[in-house]
């Protein structure tokens, strides 16, 4: 056993150089050649302020398309879901409250599941098409826009991939909504 300890230590050190230094540096170098330099995709609003395009933000004001509920209040210093079981009575009460609130804000709309449930990361940047459509009449009324103009905006922001679900990035949608109003 003893004659295996020293070679094992030396091999560990040698492999660390390969896996911990060379490998990340290689990828860092590659990232620096990309337009966003490995810092993640950013998107700017009309004042030129930039945000992470893929980090969801809390939107609960009536003047914006609302984002999904979040277990971490959209603070991206951390991340996580509610982890509540499907039959947990406290959890169901909470969802019932969200359903009531959503109905009140958007009377008559169909309520899709994503807008009353928390995402896994708590930072979900997207909502479903149904969740955006349900909010169109409210946004149009509050922003004094025609329903058709808002609907068109939603339509333009819907990504329809060949594989996977359709979705709408709430931040990009709301940035353009601000643009439309001013």
């Amino acid at each position: 056993m003893k004659q295996q300890i020293i070679p094992a230590i030396r091999l560990t050190v040698a492999l660390m150089v390969l896996c911990v230094i060379i490998y990340p540096l290689l990828l860092s170098g590659f990232a620096r050649c990309t337009p966003e330099k490995g810092k993640g995709e950013k998107v700017a609003d009309r004042n030129g302020k930039s945000y992470y395009a893929h980090i969801g933000q809390r939107f609960d004001s009536v003047i914006y398309f609302n984002s999904r509920p979040s277990a971490v209040a959209y603070n991206a210093a951390g991340s996580g879901g509610s982890n509540k079981g499907p039959d947990n009575p406290d959890y169901l009460k909470e969802v019932q409250q969200r359903v009531t609130d959503f109905k009140q804000k958007n009377p008559g709309a169909i309520i899709p599941a994503d807008i009353v449930t928390a995402s896994g990361s708590g930072l979900d940047p997207d909502i479903s098409v149904a969740a955006a459509n349900a909010q169109v009449p409210r946004i149009a009324a509050v922003r004094k826009l025609s329903q058709q103009a808002v609907q068109e905006l939603v339509h333009r922001h819907t990504s329809r991939p060949l594989l996977g679900p359709q979705k709408i990035n709430v931040l990009k949608l709301n940035i353009d909504l601000d643009q439309l109003t001013h």
Binding site: R10, L26, G40, Y52, N83, D126
Partner: protein, 562 residues
């Protein structure tokens, strides 16, 4: 919805198509045959062996192989403890994260060492970038450890009497240089092109469009994620693992990560067939594994697409499926597919929160980890399956009145005892652990996030995940307490090393036996009949021993609902 189902099917077919050539390549790598990659990797390997003073051509028997494996694992353990207990003053800590407590460091080190990655901390606050890099190192070497152990078993079943099983260090180093590292680089580049961060900057303050002040964590994510999946490790860079929008940006990265985690387990099965020149056996094993995978996966996809009946009853449209804990960009079907893929394979990464799944979906995830051999982890999956082959050969040998033999080697009492111990260890650890946790509410009751049966399932899941070296969790469990850190730590050690030692020992003993050429009286192990036999043994030994525990958890919850 159709684009979502076709997404899943394409993911699966793509994994299979990629794993076939990779399997052939892996077989050549372990047989030390010439490959197209020689000009690049030969000098790197020569340099590594020269630095460490190891003779890569020295043949080792199974005892020498296991000693080498255990010694080097021991060194990684001490190094990991040192780094996690001192990370506050070590370099690359821009967010000034504190040292881990001793019990947490013990759990973290062990769980990364055994390819489990239970993660009783959150990546954003619990570790520095330096620690993350060391943990990434462990993700490479532990995957390679499992693959090298599997390679030893491959060597044992070559025709003839095999006293030695190749060289542990050679198979280990080649697994990294020729398989894990090049694939990681390719996947890392795909992730970077899809906006995954690769930076060493710390947290950044951000004012949102609506005016809230928040912080955003980033980091060298694109380097961490490829090996977490290729090596079936599953330890996330961020707390939310692959549901985090920077760790898994879009549907394409989701597919990439999904394929990455299933790729090597698939390929190892085909490599086994290729290595022994028994391709049909490889396919027979793969088909049984796929049968088990689909039997768990399809129900989960259907149940999650149907939505939570409790929430539908409130007047919410069930069209999107059950969305609690799931991300809109993946949707319910691809999340459900991942939930089983990550549990049959010992990855344990998640793209949605398992605790919020429907009760019977949760049961299927548990069953996937309880059987732990449908594909299984990097290298170790095929070792687990090998144990069940030995049991099935013995039982069918008794049934038809023939001497049990596998690939020309007679299976006798000693091998059977080892196989039995390994097969029974898994239920023993899971059920004893859960029973103790349930019997000690003073330690565990306050850590549960949900009342009733679901709370029991949280505990059962934690020990199952530990014993299967999986690493996923019903994450509501407040598991960063001395009780959970230490008890799961011991389960992790036992359930990693014994299931490696056992199969390698069996292979070593069988390899040294006289080779009996196939005759009309030989039990064929590459037929559909024998495949079903193995499947039945897995169901009886693995799944049924857990039935009472499942009744108390997910099954009771299912019947209590609505």
């Amino acid at each position: 919805m159709n684009t979502e189902i076709s997404g899943i099917i394409i993911m699966f077919v793509f994994t299979l198509l990629l794993s076939l050539p990779l399997g052939r390549y892996i077989a050549r790598v372990y047989a030390n045959e010439r490959t197209f990659s020689d000009p690049v990797f030969n000098p790197i390997e020569r340099f590594l062996f020269k630095c460490s003073g190891i003779d890569p051509h020295k043949e080792q028997n199974w005892k020498q192989q296991l000693t080498a494996l255990l010694v080097i694992n021991f060194i990684w353990f001490f190094l990991g403890m040192f780094i996690l207990l001192n990370q506050s003053w070590l370099p690359l800590n821009p967010d000034h994260n504190p040292d881990q407590t001793p019990d947490q460091a013990f759990n973290t080190t062990i769980s990364f060492l055994v390819n489990c990655n239970l993660q009783h901390y959150s990546g954003e606050t619990g570790v520095s970038y330096f620690s993350q890099l060391y943990l990434m190192f462990l993700q490479f070497v532990t995957a390679a450890t499992g693959m090298a152990a599997a390679a030893a078993v491959f060597h044992a079943f070559r025709k003839g009497t095999q006293q030695t099983l190749g060289n542990f260090y050679t198979a280990f180093v080649r697994s990294i240089t020729r398989i894990l590292l090049p694939l990681s680089i390719i996947i890392g580049m795909i992730l970077i092109l899809n906006h995954t961060p690769m930076t060493f900057e710390g947290k950044q303050q951000m004012i949102t469009l609506q005016g809230d002040t928040t912080y955003v964590s980033t980091g060298p994510v694109a380097a961490f994620v490829p090996i977490k999946h290729l090596g079936t490790n599953g330890g996330g860079f961020f707390g939310a693992n692959s549901s985090h929008p920077l760790e898994n940006v879009n549907y394409l990265t989701n597919m990439t990560q999904m394929i990455a985690q299933m790729l090597i387990p698939f390929a190892m099965v085909f490599a086994f067939g290729q290595f022994l020149n028994r391709r049909k056996l490889g396919w027979a094993i793969w088909c049984v594994m796929t049968l088990g995978f689909l039997a768990l996966c399809i129900p989960n996809i259907i149940m999650e697409m149907n939505g939570n009946p409790n929430i539908t009853a409130m007047g919410v449209s069930p069209a999107l499926g059950a969305m609690e804990g799931k991300e809109v960009r993946f949707g319910a079907p691809a999340s459900a597919y991942w939930s089983i893929a990550t549990t049959v394979i010992s990855t344990g990464s998640i793209n949605s929160m398992h605790s919020s799944y429907m009760p019977l979906s949760g049961m299927n995830m548990l069953l996937a980890m309880m059987t732990n051999c449908f594909y299984g982890g990097c290298g170790v999956g095929i070792l687990n399956y090998f144990v069940f082959i030995i049991l099935a050969v013995f039982i069918s040998g008794l049934m038809v009145g023939r001497t049990p033999e596998f690939l020309g080697k007679k299976i006798e009492a000693r091998e059977m005892k080892i196989a039995m111990i390994v097969a029974l260890l898994h239920p023993l650890l899971i059920l004893t652990g859960t029973a103790l946790a349930a019997a000690l509410p003073s330690q565990t009751a306050s850590t549960l996030a949900n009342p009733g049966f679901h709370g029991f399932t949280e505990m059962l899941y934690e020990y199952t995940s530990s014993a299967a070296n999986n690493g996923s969790g019903f994450e509501g469990l407040g598991d960063n307490t001395p009780w959970w850190n230490i008890s799961t730590g011991f389960v992790l050690i036992l359930s990693r090393y014994l299931p490696i030692i056992g199969p390698v020992a069996i292979a070593g003993i069988l390899g040294a036996k006289k080779y009996i050429p196939e005759s009309a009286g030989t039990l064929k192990t590459d037929t559909a009949t024998f495949g079903f036999m193995v499947f039945a043994v897995i169901i009886i030994v693995a799944a049924l021993s857990f039935f009472p525990a499942l009744t108390l958890g997910p099954i009771a919850e299912y019947f209590g609902m609505g």
